[in-house]
Amino acid sequence: MLEIKDVHKSFNKNTILKGVNLSIDKGDVVVILGPSGSGKTTLLRCINFLEKADQGHASFGDIKVDLHQAKKKEIHAIRQKVAFVFQNYNLFTNKTALENVTEGLIIGRKIPRDEAIMRGKQALDKVGLSEKYNAYPIELSGGQQQRVGIARAVALNPDIILFDEPTSALDPELVGEVLSVMKAIAKEEGTTMLVVTHEISFAKEVANRVIFMDDGVVVEEGSPHEILVTPKEERTIRFLKRVIPKDYIYQI
């Protein structure tokens, strides 16, 4: 459904992505792991054109685009199929939770107001925020804000949702609520997801494929078991040793 080919990206003289390939099928939950600075976030941002890749191609179903030279129309068409959940939530600060969710529906997709509000409420119910329709972001905790962010993405009914380290900015005790919402969406809705995260447990329990990236390339990919329990590459092993406590035993 989504195929990314040979993505390159540098910032000034700093090369971040050195030819990344990626293919995701409908219903996949793909987790990208990797040390910071390995280009995970940049890859996600290139897919959604928040960064302009220096080189690379993407195909979303029947739409094929050059990631470097995409026209405004093509970018707009792809953003209609792809939703994004940000590390720092990035809720519209001047809109209520419900307005945050309906904004993209009413303005971006031209869905009638009543229907958009209904879909918005359903999405907020799904993430457990039925009580917070009219709360402004400033009135919500980090975990609640991120759940609104997820509802905003889910309500768009996209072909795929990109999660950019959705729990990294949260206090530790709030990580659980966000992960369980993501898990529920993956399991119950069968939503296709591409998730950049440091939560190994999420990769283990929810992903059907794990990709390990380092230094701008995909080092290794496979099932969670293959990557997390029986990694082959030296770099993967080193990374996992660093992030997984010694006495942590994996059981899948």
């Binding site: 928040l50 707009h76 209609q80 940000f86 519209f92 972001p137 400033i138």
Partner: protein, 237 residues
């Protein structure tokens, strides 16, 4: 023999001066209508460092800020008729440039100077809105124009309101300089009335009160506006 205030003149002139309020408000409102979008767009060129235009905007701002409005009035009021005259003569247009209503000059000058001030107001306000807000708007499928209209401008306005209020009040007061080009606004009306009987103190007192009330009303309107627009910032947790 020295007398107290001429109260009858004071009250009569108050209404004479007040009759100029429509011109004062007209010049203020139209200048703002022209300057608000123009100042906003030029502020965006400054923020996004759009090569040539941002440099021009920068020079324009320092030009306006570095000169008194009265001098800008003198320059424009004396040079534009000459330019127009040369233009009309050349193309044989039968139009008496000395019959042009001074309100046109006032609108040019005040939109010109207000735009420059608003570039700076919006530039600092735009700086407070994080670029992530724009990215979030893109991610839900909004175009740049929609994102500005629905998200960015609303947030910018709230931050800019206190400075917009100052600019508006300053503009109202600055229109009093319109008397220098015979613009029949509050100040000119009062001065003309005073000329006849040398009742300057009464006339100035009238002007003083009218501007004071006018500016206080404007400040009140802005305060209400700010309260309404910034409700998302004051919400209680």
């Amino acid at each position: 023999m020295s007398q107290g205030l001429n109260y009858e003149f004071l009250i009569d002139t108050f209404f004479v001066a007040l009759s100029g309020i429509s011109i004062t408000l007209l010049v203020t409102v139209i200048s703002l209508i022209i300057a608000l979008p123009l100042g906003f767009l030029l502020a965006i060129t400054r923020i996004n460092r759009i090569p040539v235009i941002q440099r021009i905007a920068q020079i324009y701002v320092s030009f306006v800020r570095g000169t008194p409005i009265i001098i800008q009035i003198f320059i424009i009021y004396s040079s534009i008729p000459l330019i127009l005259k040369a233009f009309f003569d050349k193309y044989n247009i039968q139009l008496d440039i000395y019959k042009i209503n001074p309100i046109w000059y006032a609108l040019i000058i005040f939109s010109f100077s207000t735009t420059a001030l608003l570039i700076e107001v919006f530039r600092s306000a735009l700086g407070t809105v994080k670029k992530e807000q724009l990215e979030a708007a893109y991610s839900v499928g909004l175009t740049t124009f929609q994102a500005y209209r629905r998200i960015i401008i609303q947030q910018v306005l709230v931050v800019a309101l206190p400075n917009l209020c100052t600019t508006t009040v300053n503009l109202i007061k600055a229109t009093s300089l319109g008397y220098a080009m015979s613009l029949p606004e509050i100040t000119l009306n009062a001065k003309v009335a005073a000329n006849m009987g040398y009742n300057y103190v009464e006339a100035y007192l009238d002007i003083f009160i009218i501007y004071l009330i006018l500016c206080m009303a404007v400040e009140y309107i802005f305060k209400v506006l700010e309260k309404r627009l910034s409700k998302y910032k004051m919400a209680n947790a």
